[in-house]
Symmetry: C2
Subunit: 337 residues, 2 copies
């Protein structure tokens, strides 16, 4: 691979197009063998030898029905970027636009990796010991056990290839550690995950142990994953708010808080999801990264670099290989029975 080409939806997110354009320039500065295709409206003015501007006339908003928008708005910045991946003009795409529309783009405009039942959205979450990957975070609200097994494989490949974890420990989010715990979906998934040999299944993760970081990948269906993701945000905000209430109620504590300002700032930085890049969409024939809607230039830079590494480290090919192996194992299993 000579050069890695990343298609950037310049119109997605609250701070577009300034933040996307500036993020692109920051990323190009760091990635000497990357090129960016920038899809956006004609007002954008930008100059860089490794950046190509491609004019689009439409924008997909968060209020639109995703699948409909992706089918109709062919000349939107998001669909045009996806088509560049599909055609082979780009290896990866980054967008901070509507999550639903990006999922639809991945499925109908780029296409799934052969054998993948359902693509999954994954998020890196800061844990106590180390960050971990939560997947699926909302792409598939109703799941079958075999989907969750594939989420485990794809998450494991991501953590290995992109985050450099040697043998990622994959856990199944559950209400107890024992094999027989959980609802029907969890029990059936536990059994299927125990049988496959393509990733290291480390058993159930009890909900209270999810934030420790002892597991590198935490697998759930998209309903529970999204619930956990958003609840984490809400609970962290609430806890910090309740602590502030108590501090404000006491002059002594207010003085103490002044001394703790730097520590608090570091704590917040450690919790900041912006620092770890965007959410990878796993199972698509191409590297796709969903940047947070509120991303600023730094977050876009991170998301582009992340997409770059997904291509550089052969993530798609490795997922393809793993999925084929699991399917073969499952077929053999059937035949033996």
């Amino acid at each position: 691979m000579s050069e890695i080409v990343i298609a950037l939806d310049a119109m997605g997110g609250d701070n577009a197009p300034q933040a996307t354009v500036e993020g692109a320039l920051l990323a190009l500065n760091e990635l000497k063998d990357a090129r960016i295709l920038l899809f956006g409206s004609k007002e954008i003015e930008v100059q860089h030898e490794r950046l190509e501007f491609i004019e689009t006339t439409e924008v997909i908003t968060n209020d639109e029905a995703p699948m409909m928008a992706v089918r109709k708005k062919i000349n939107s910045s998001m669909v045009a970027a996806a088509l560049a991946v599909k055609d082979g003009r780009a290896n990866a795409m980054v967008s901070a636009g509507s999550t639903g529309a990006l999922l639809a783009c991945g499925m109908v405009r780029i296409g799934r990796i052969q054998g993948v039942e359902r693509p999954a959205l994954a998020s890196i979450i800061p844990g106590r010991k180390k960050p971990f990957l939560l997947t699926d975070c909302g792409a598939n609200v109703d799941c079958l056990p075999k989907y969750l097994v594939q989420f485990g494989l794809m998450g494991s490949v991501y953590m290995n290839r992109i985050m450099g974890v040697k043998e990622p420990r994959v856990g199944l989010a559950n209400i107890g550690a024992e094999a027989e715990k959980g609802n029907q979906l969890a029990k059936a998934t536990y059994e299927m995950m125990s049988q496959q040999k393509e990733f290291s299944f480390a058993g159930n993760v009890e909900a209270r142990d999810i934030p420790t970081g002892d597991f590198d990948v935490v697998v759930t269906d998209g309903f529970d994953g999204n619930l956990i993701l958003k609840y984490t945000e809400g609970l962290a905000t609430t806890l910090v708010g309740m602590l502030k209430d108590e501090i404000k109620a006491s002059k002594k504590a207010m003085v103490g808080a002044l001394f703790m300002k730097d520590a608090m700032r570091k704590f917040k930085a450690r919790m900041d999801p912006e620092e770890v890049g965007g959410a990878p969409l796993l199972g698509i024939k191409g590297a796709v990264v969903k940047a947070h809607g509120s991303s600023r230039e730094g977050a876009f830079k991170h998301a582009i670099i992340q997409a770059y590494h997904m291509v550089k480290n052969g993530m798609v090919e490795e997922i393809e290989r793993g999925i084929a192996e699991i399917s073969a194992e499952q077929t053999n299993e059937e035949e033996v029975k």
Copy 2:
């Protein structure tokens, strides 16, 4: 009702029987028209004019298969307490023993309220603005929409009768606020909840808004409820731990922390589930409270007082009435169709 009688499983929990016995005495001190039946092993020595000691010879442990234990160990402290409620010798029961066994006791030894499909476990959680009730917290891991509608009704009755909330706002835990959001279960439940008239359904609660306390009752299936409950515990511990890491890394911040000790203590007290009593088991023909396994005497006192109010305020009768109304509405609905 002249006198309220509470059956206490003296052998349940990590600190039994000392903590249970002392908790009983503390509660009797506050409740002048209550009597306690104390079920436990013969070593227990206690004297109070409104306390009756009843010797039992067995104890159900956390390791046993719940339904089996409840069927076999007739002379265990937990089953004997349940039978006292069944026979009418007691109006309520409190236990800090195995949650699974207590659920089984409720179902096979005491029995469900007529029309209740599935009893539910509920927990009071401290929210930013006010505490709220989360239900089901783990009794039913696989649910139908009609179960969740009943959980909403029972939770609403509890918050009204026991916590004094005038018209409890009942929300459905979901991944978005709009009616069409969620998995199959959530969508079907939303529709059924919108149609009933027995409690005030306030729509979906997005996961990030659960901790605010804007809803008085948050309804989920037992899998997600248990996940949320345990995740809350784990995340709070992790966040406090991460904050401590940053404080310990800086001498200045350590000084600040000294000034903040009192505020931190108050914050912790506000988060302490011990302060709000035990988890009510809703849908059983009798008031049943599951005290936390680590309960000390104060927590047992609270749990006993809680059970007392459940009886005093006619919670069971009100649930029975509400369930009958909802069933009638549903039948009418069918006929109209």
